[in-house]
Amino acid sequence: MALPLPQGLVPTEVAFLCEMEMVTIVPRQRLESIPLLSGDTPALRPPHRAQMPLWLALLLKKQRRANIVPPAWLHPASLADIIHHETNVDPQAFSPPPPPPTRADGRGRARPFQDNIRSSREQPKPGDDPRLAPPFLPSPPAGYLPYHWLELAETLLAHAADDVPAAAEVRSLLRDLQEVRAAKMRGSTQSLEGGGGVVVLRGVGAMELAESRAFVLGVVDGVRKLGASAEATRREEEAIGGGGRYGGGAGGRGGNFEDSDEEMEF
């Protein structure tokens, strides 16, 4: 009965999450609102567009009741921009995550999507809405990849390829993008070895994380276990007030190995 899966989401679970992403559809038939557990679906009146979760959009698409409007970031020009950014502008980091979504406030201004919860307020109150995060955020503008970009693009190309303009081009661009980012993901393991404590992967995607989760977690935990005695020594020294960083900055990795040797001698 207990779940046999390892700690952390596996790719199938990430795909499940991705199916909650909101997409825009153009209905081809009228459909009354359906009372669902996650709220009523919008009543569909062609040709008015509607927002719905991906799983429902795919169901409607399969039954030829609707067409899916591909998100702005999946356009070939947008993808080419992102690839340009990933390869030329910033060949080290991932392209930045989308800016916080905004919405109209009814007075002609754009405001943050969730401005009833301000970041200035440090402690959220119990009655507050939870701060939204993917997959519940609206689709990002062109030039930014959403958190579930790879799964979303794959699903749309597999089940709604006729709705995606220039599907073949998009496919090859996606492949390029994936390769560029996979190389960065592999490169980021360099910083894991250092044992710096905090590793920031700004702009990484859900599936990229899920793919290398076991490896990354294994490396981080392995480094921690190998360096456990060094870390304890360093903390003791810091507590005494010596202040020196054990092993030094650049020689940190070498310091690790020396310590494990010492351990063996004992």
Binding site: Q7, I34, L59, S119, R131, A133, R234, R253
Partner: protein, 221 residues
């Protein structure tokens, strides 16, 4: 949907989330969190799971009522409702099973102090107690009975060595920042200290991430 939801929907200055949508978001978040952490998290205190279970039960009743009439138009609605129902049931089931796996693995640990016991729901507490009693009785009958009475405990802490297996709180996790803020984490060679921005994905130890997750500054991914 109650009157607050309706008011929120027509008020453009609010976020306009109906309570059903909010519950789905909360449920998704607690599920992801429970799947990603090495230790058991607190059972949601606001009655989230009970509320969702109630909704699932009433939705099943609706499905039973709808299957009665053979109207082809309600047929498609039925497919949609059932698909969603299965997704919901998967979420709840996977959440409970992930918790159960942790309770199974470290039953004695979660029963050892009142603080840890408070993390379990009443049914989980009953399950863990019974599970541990059964296990102890079985051990007693099969081999512990032949030892001296001082050697029969499963939760001995003599000599500063505890027999109770605890989850490794220093395991690494992935978090996403929900607001800007400073993130500090312990490391082997040096302690990390990063000025994080909203949306950043960060790898750090669970012990360092827990305060951030508890204050909703970050969520697990």
């Amino acid at each position: 949907m109650d009157i607050d939801d309706i008011l929120r929907e027509v008020d453009p200055s609010s976020s306009g989330l109906p309570s059903e949508t909010r519950d789905l978001q909360s449920l998704t978040r607690v599920w992801v969190a429970e799947r990603s952490t090495p230790e058991l998290l607190s059972w949601p205190t606001d009655g989230l799971v009970e509320r969702v279970n109630g909704r699932i039960a009433s939705q099943i009743e609706r499905v039973e009522a709808l299957t009665g009439d053979m109207d082809p138009r309600s047929n498609f609605a039925l497919i949609v409702i059932q698909t969603e129902l299965e997704r919901y049931k998967f979420l709840v089931r996977s959440y409970l099973r992930a918790r159960l796996a942790k309770v199974d693995r470290h039953a004695l640990h979660y029963l050892s102090t009142p603080d840890l016991r408070a993390r379990l729901s009443p049914t989980e507490l009953a399950y863990a107690t019974r599970h541990q009693a059964l296990l102890h009785n079985h051990y007693l009958a099969s081999f512990l009975g032949s030892f001296g009475p001082t050697l029969q405990n499963l939760n001995d802490t003599a000599g500063n060595i505890t027999m109770i297996d605890t989850p490794d709180l220093e395991n690494a996790v992935f978090i996403r920042l929900l607001r800007d803020g400073r993130v500090m984490g312990k490391g082997v060679d040096a302690d990390g200290d990063v000025e994080g921005r909203t949306g950043d994905i960060i790898i750090l130890r669970w012990a360092d991430a827990k305060p951030l997750v508890d204050t909703e500054t970050a969520e697990l991914v």
